[in-house]
Each structure stands twice: as structure tokens, then as C-alpha cells.
């Protein structure tokens, strides 16, 4: 408690100081365009690379890739700066404003617009052209996530769709060998499991993974999170209520226990207490699965359309105050090289976004569990592109939590959240200049 307080105070003081130092900096953040064609031949430069991969296989993989890149390029030295995603969110905007941000960084899809609106990123149109990337080089919808107000600010790096993880041994207890694919077969499997005393899918009301399941279902029932220009929340539509009711019914019908704690469902899958878990592709490399008879599959189609939630990560070029164009050009070379050499990236449980790399047959040979996730990319929905959207998205999780713990009905919970989200969206327009 005291420690938490001291820490919070420390953060507040540090941020306050950082703000104080940068506040006097005057105007900064020019959104100048810089080009790069993948072959940097200027003077020798040191560039810094910020990213949030601190867990799993990434801490060994990223330095290895960088080392290889550095050894192949005489005039570029990349410095690896890994830190928690949360720390990046807190530090990077201020660092960029102060001219001390990285030369290249990786961000999640739902952060891109927030950064772009704040003029923290360089217009990457010319870089993208120079490197020869178009939307066709990536799965549908990913490239567009880097587009804010008709300017491209980012190059896709990886995609991370949701999938269905199945404990085959538990499924076998109900005499089922085929993994269900639609509402009918899924419900039948849950019923069969219930008959042998197994609650087949444990549904939770947290970001991992209840929210992503809800969003997948919302799209499956034909709804959407927000309206076209993201000025109004629409997740409380009939489709949204159908989706959330389907989730609360899992509890009501006894297919799921009530009050599942955060991560309780993946723990249950690993412990052989449940058969299904809707979870992200990143779990495919979870070492806890090693001794388990498990398989991954596309999420079943519960609604009328095929759809699944996915996140994505993107390369960006920060608009540091006084950013050196040579460094950005070198960073573009690094990005192209990393994308081209990202086959090993699958080891971290993320799918390389570059079609050519991902569709190389050796990738699936090495990582067969990725196949079902790759199959989903045709109909995957990515996170909403709008500045400050994460604040509105957080309300969806609260609504799901309230409905699943019986505090409110699905309709009531979603309506309350949507009302609040509309307020936030309006506020965001004022805050980020619409």
C-alpha cells in the first residue's frame, strides 16, 4: 500500500517533471515526410528502437535479429530498447515531444490514431512508397489501421487474431473428436460435456479474453463497435445484446461456472477442467501447453457471419523534435529488413503480417498450430482507428464484467457503457481535434 503510494507518487513526480521540462519546449512535432527505400547509404548512424516485447521468446529473439541486422549493415547501429507496453504509453509521447524519443518503434493498432492525432508520428507515405509496400502485401484491413485522415503513419509488423484452444482429452471425455465450427455443433459439444460433468467454456468479464470474445460475437451477429466515423458507440445494438446474452447464457445454462476470475479460463484449460478457451494466437507458444493434448482452431461461427477479433502491431517513425532524416531513412531500412526476416517471429506466438513471409510453407511446417489463425485472417476485424479510442473500449469490458457478474442485464450494461462512450468520443474529438 505504502509502496504503491510511493511508486504512484514517484511516477507522478517523474511525469510532472518530464512535463515541466518539455512544456517549455514550445512548438514541436512537425509532421514532415521522410523517405527511405530500404537501402540506406548515408553516413553512419545510431538509431534507437523502442518496443514492448519483454516476455516469452521475444527477449532473446529481438536482440538476435538486431545483432544480425547490425552485422549486415556497416553504416547503421540499431539499439534495442525493450520496455513494458504500459511504460511506452506513459513515456513515449513526452519523449518524442522533448526530442528524445526513438527513431523507430512498434505500436499496437489501437494506439496509432492517438499518436497520429497528436502529431507524434512522421507521415510515412513516402517511406511506404519507397519500400514498395501496398495494402495487398498484408492481410485485409491491417494496412488501413495505419491510415489516419488519408495519411499512412505505419507499416504492419504482426497480427494476433483470437482462436479456439481445445483440450482434446477433455473433449474426448464427452465422446467428441471433431472440433465444433458453428453454433449448432458448439452448443451440442457444450451439452455433451455438461452431461459428463464438464463445464465446456469458462467465460470471463476481463480484457483477456471476455472482451475479445464479445467483440468477435458482435461482428458475427452483424453489429459493429462504433459507427462509420467513430462519433457514436453502436456496441449496444441488437447484435451486441445478442452477443452478450449468448455469453451470459453460457453461465445460465451451466456450460460455464459463474464468477470466473481473470485468466481463470486458460488455467482451467491447462488443468483439464474445461474443453474450450477463446484466446489469442500468442498462447500457441505458451510453454504450459507442452504436456497437453491440445489443438487450435478458428473460433466457431456463432452468429450469421464469419468474424473474429484481431489486434496488430505496426512500425512507426516518431516525429521527434529535430528528427534527423538520415536516422529515419536508416530506420526504414531496418523495418524492411525486419519484415523480410520475420519468419522466426512466429516463435513469439504472433503471425508475421507480411504476406510473403507468412505464406512461406516452411512457416506452417515449423509452427503447425498457426494454420487455423492464418485461415481466419480473411475475415478478421482489427481494432478501431480513432484517437483516444482505448478509453471508450475500456467501457465495453466494464459492461461485460457487470453483465457476467449479474450486476446488470446485457442490454442495461451495454446501454450504460454506450452512453458513457458517446461522451468520451465527443470529448476525444475536442481533445484531439476531431
Amino acid at each position: 500500500m505504502k509502496k504503491a503510494f510511493v511508486r504512484a507518487l514517484g511516477i507522478a513526480a517523474a511525469v510532472g517533471l518530464g512535463v515541466a521540462l518539455t512544456g517549455c519546449g514550445g512548438s514541436s512535432g512537425t509532421t514532415g515526410a521522410v523517405s527511405g527505400d530500404g537501402e540506406y547509404d548515408g553516413p553512419k548512424v545510431d538509431i534507437t528502437f523502442w518496443h514492448g516485447w519483454t516476455g516469452g521468446a521475444a527477449p532473446t529473439l529481438v536482440p538476435k535479429l538486431i545483432e544480425q541486422f547490425n552485422s549486415e549493415h556497416d553504416n547503421i547501429v540499431v539499439k534495442n530498447v525493450p520496455q513494458e507496453w504500459g511504460d511506452i504509453a506513459a513515456k513515449m509521447p513526452l519523449a518524442i515531444k522533448a526530442g528524445k524519443g526513438p527513431d523507430v518503434a512498434v505500436l499496437h493498432g489501437d494506439d496509432l490514431a492517438t499518436y497520429a492525432a497528436q502529431k507524434l508520428l512522421l507521415n510515412a507515405d513516402d517511406i511506404v512508397d519507397g519500400l514498395g509496400y501496398t495494402a495487398d502485401d498484408f492481410p485485409p484491413g491491417v494496412f488501413e489501421a495505419g491510415d489516419y485522415k488519408d495519411t499512412q503513419y505505419a507499416i504492419p509488423w504482426s497480427v494476433t487474431p483470437l482462436g479456439l484452444f481445445v483440450n482434446m482429452e477433455v473433449l474426448g471425455q464427452a465422446g467428441i473428436t471433431e472440433i465444433p465450427t458453428d453454433q449448432e455443433s458448439y452448443t451440442a459439444a457444450l451439452e455433451a460435456l455438461k452431461n459428463v460433468g464438464v463445464q465446456g467454456e469458462w467465460v470471463d468479464g476481463y480484457v483477456f479474453t471476455g472482451t475479445f470474445e464479445f467483440e468477435s460475437l458482435l461482428w458475427q451477429f452483424g453489429g459493429d463497435l462504433y459507427n462509420e466515423d467513430v462519433t457514436q458507440a453502436t456496441f449496444n445494438s441488437e447484435a451486441g445484446v445478442q452477443a452478450l446474452t449468448w455469453m451470459t447464457d453460457l453461465v445460465k445454462d451451466g456450460y460455464s461456472p459463474a464468477n470466473v476470475a481473470q485468466d481463470g479460463n486458460i488455467k482451467a484449460l491447462l488443468a483439464g477442467q474445461t474443453a474450450f478457451n477463446w484466446n489469442g494466437v500468442w498462447q500457441t507458444t505458451n510453454s504450459a501447453f507442452a504436456d497437453l493434448d491440445w489443438q487450435a482452431a478458428p473460433v466457431p461461427q456463432i452468429g450469421t457471419e464469419q468474424a473474429v477479433w484481431s489486434s496488430s502491431t505496426h512500425w512507426v517513425f516518431p516525429a521527434n523534435k529535430g528528427q534527423d532524416a538520415d536516422k529515419t531513412a536508416a530506420a526504414a531500412t531496418f523495418v524492411k529488413w525486419m519484415n523480410d526476416n520475420s519468419a522466426g517471429w512466429a516463435e513469439t506466438g504472433e503471425l508475421p503480417a507480411d504476406n510473403e513471409v507468412r505464406n512461406d510453407p516452411t512457416l506452417v511446417q515449423n509452427y503447425p498450430n498457426l494454420q487455423p489463425f492464418m485461415d481466419e485472417l480473411e475475415y478478421a476485424h482489427y481494432e478501431t482507428v480513432s484517437p483516444g479510442i482505448t478509453e471508450a473500449n475500456a467501457l465495453i469490458t466494464t459492461a461485460i464484467n457487470e453483465a457476467l457478474t449479474g450486476k446488470k442485464s446485457p442490454q442495461e450494461a451495454l446501454d450504460d457503457a454506450a452512453k458513457k462512450a458517446d461522451q468520451i468520443l465527443k470529448q476525444n474529438q475536442a481533445k484531439y481535434g476531431g
Partner: protein, 327 residues
């Protein structure tokens, strides 16, 4: 300030007593030098205090009366608008802010009595001459050294509704085995208070123990000669003897509980809904994650005002009692 002024006044007196005196002028000079030396040694702390406490506090106050955004180049003075918005039910922040203040109040009311009485009881037990007292003292103090992240992971595993150890054990002795410790009310409060008491009671215990050691043993002897039993001597000797310590502990514990953040952030994620989202959690989210720094600064000053008032009331109440006992 008062203390700084009195210091040089004391120093010459001592010199005079030692007989090494000198002229009044040289005495004054020595006094000034001593003051200077004292200031020099105090200066580093003063500088740190000014830089990291006073300056950010003033800066925060300024932020709270502007439409501050770290990303806009011009900040406009908006007066008390950010404060007024907190009391306007139609603003985006007021509902969530007061809910988080309510959650904080619930936590303070539930946790502070436990965090005072439980350590007091343990300190009384440890104060007896028992075997392995040091071991027990260590056992009670040990959790305090753990970071909140460790606490979150440990108790997350123990308290998981379906696969937690605690519910499993409860099931074995025939009690309900599906208690949602970290998921639903009222259990989340039991969890947050219980975990906090387990984690932080060591510090208060040690302070109480030091206070108990400071009570003159003669008083207990006198009390027993007067025919007082253990309960009477606790009430008439121990409790008055611990009053200054009690004032310190209640004040620091109230402040610490009001600033609770990590436990609910890690164990309950602020849920169910936003029921356990504390004021600090909400302020940190608004200020640091959502870039609403100006309203967040205003919120933190409202929280500060509440805590200041509570601390003053607490001081007044306990100080009066101290005076009465002395009289």
C-alpha cells in the same frame, strides 16, 4: 521554522555550561557557523524535497486550473472549471470520480480498524517473554518486504474462484467452495482488506512493539499492587502509554489506505464493474493513460483536501486525549 530558530539559542547555552565561553561576539560567530553547518547538511534534503515534492505539487495545482494537455503548445487558464466539473453530474468525470472516492472510503473504513487492532494484538503477544519471539517478529514482518506485484501473483493463485487453493480447502471441510474472492462483491472487499492486512501489518506491529517497550515497567508493577488485573492494566497503563504511537499509526494508516492502488489493480482489476476502482487508480488512468491531465490534477487535489481534513480531525481528537491524560 520554529525549530530552526531555537537551535542557535540552545547552542551557546551549552557552551556557557562547559565554561569555554568567550566574548559575546565570538559566541555569536560560533553560533552562526553552527547554523551554517546545519543548513549545509540539511540542504541536500531540502533541495530534493523542493524539486520532487513542492515543485510538482505547485505545478499540479497550476495544471488543475488550465486546460492542460502535454500535446498542445498553448495552455489556457480556465479557472476552477476542472473542479466545478467534478461536482457537475453531467460531466464525463464526476460520476466515475465520486464512485472511485466511494470505493476508497469503503476500503479505508474497512481496513484501518483491522490495520490498527490486529498489529496491536500481535504486538502485545510478541511483547511477552516467549521463546522464539524474534522468529515470530520476522514472520509477521516478512510479507511487508514483498512488492505488490508479488502479492498480486501469490494471492491471485490462492483466491481464484474455481482453481484457487483457498476454495479447494474450504470445500474439503464442507464449506462453500465457489466463493468469488476476486470477482464479486462483497468478497472482493474481504480479499482486499485481508491481503492488505497480511501484507502491511508488520510495520504497524513493529512500531507498536517499540511503543510497548517504551512503557515503564514500574507502572505495571504499581498497577498490580493496586490490584489491577491484566485487562485493567491494559486499559490504564498500556493504552495511555501508547497514545502518541497510536496517533502516528492511525494517521499514516489512514493515508496509506486512502492511497491504495496495487491490490485492486492486480487482484480485482477494479471489478466487479468499477466497484473496487480506487481514487488513485482512476486518477492515474485519467492522467497518465487517457491524457486528461488537467481534470486528473483537479481530482488529486480534491482527494488531497479530503485526506488533509481527515488528518486534521484525527490529530485534534487524539491530541485532546493526550492533554487530558497529562492533566
Amino acid at each position: 521554522m520554529a525549530e530552526i530558530v531555537t537551535t542557535p539559542a540552545v547552542a551557546p547555552q551549552r557552551e556557557g555550561a562547559g565554561g569555554s565561553g568567550g566574548t559575546p561576539a565570538s559566541r555569536a560567530r560560533t553560533g552562526r557557523r553552527r547554523t551554517l553547518v546545519a543548513y549545509l547538511f540539511l540542504a541536500p534534503f531540502l533541495i530534493l524535497f523542493l524539486t520532487f515534492v513542492v515543485a510538482p505539487a505547485i505545478f499540479g495545482l497550476w495544471i488543475s486550473v488550465t486546460d492542460y494537455s502535454p500535446f498542445s503548445d498553448v495552455q489556457n487558464f480556465v479557472g476552477l472549471q476542472n473542479y466545478i466539473a467534478l461536482f457537475d453530474p453531467n460531466s464525463t468525470f464526476s460520476g466515475d470520480f465520486w464512485q472511485s472516492m466511494g470505493a476508497t472510503a469503503i476500503f479505508v473504513v474497512l481496513s484501518v480498524p483491522c490495520l490498527v487492532l490486529v498489529p496491536l494484538g500481535i504486538a502485545l503477544l510478541l511483547n511477552r517473554r516467549i521463546r522464539a519471539a524474534t522468529t515470530f517478529r520476522t514472520v509477521f514482518f516478512a510479507p511487508y518486504v514483498l512488492g505488490v506485484a508479488v502479492i498480486g501473483v501469490i494471492w491471485g493463485y490462492i483466491l481464484d474462484t474455481q482453481s484457487g487453493i483457498l476454495n479447494h480447502l474450504l470445500g474439503l471441510i464442507g464449506l462453500p467452495d465457489d466463493i468469488p474472492w476476486t470477482v464479486n462483491v462483497p468478497w472482493v472487499w474481504v480479499t482486499l482488506v485481508g491481503v492488505t492486512v497480511w501484507w502491511t501489518m508488520g510495520l504497524n506491529t513493529v512500531i507498536f512493539l517499540a511503543g510497548l517497550k517504551g512503557i515503564n515497567a514500574d507502572l505495571y508493577e504499581a498497577a498490580s499492587l493496586d490490584g489491577a488485573g491484566p485487562w485493567r492494566s491494559f486499559l490504564n497503563v498500556t493504552v495511555p502509554g501508547l497514545r502518541p504511537v497510536m496517533l502516528f499509526i492511525t494517521t499514516t494508516t489512514v493515508l496509506a489506505s486512502a492511497n491504495m492502488f496495487g491490490q485492486s489493480y492486480l487482484l480485482t482489476a477494479g471489478g466487479p464493474g468499477n466497484a473496487t476502482r480506487t481514487a488513485i487508480m482512476y486518477i492515474a488512468d485519467q492522467g497518465l493513460s487517457q491524457n486528461n491531465m488537467a481534470p486528473a490534477a483537479a481530482m488529486s487535489y480534491v482527494l488531497f483536501a479530503f485526506l488533509a481534513i481527515i488528518s486534521v480531525i484525527n490529530f485534534r481528537l487524539q491530541r485532546e486525549r493526550v492533554e487530558r491524560t497529562v492533566a
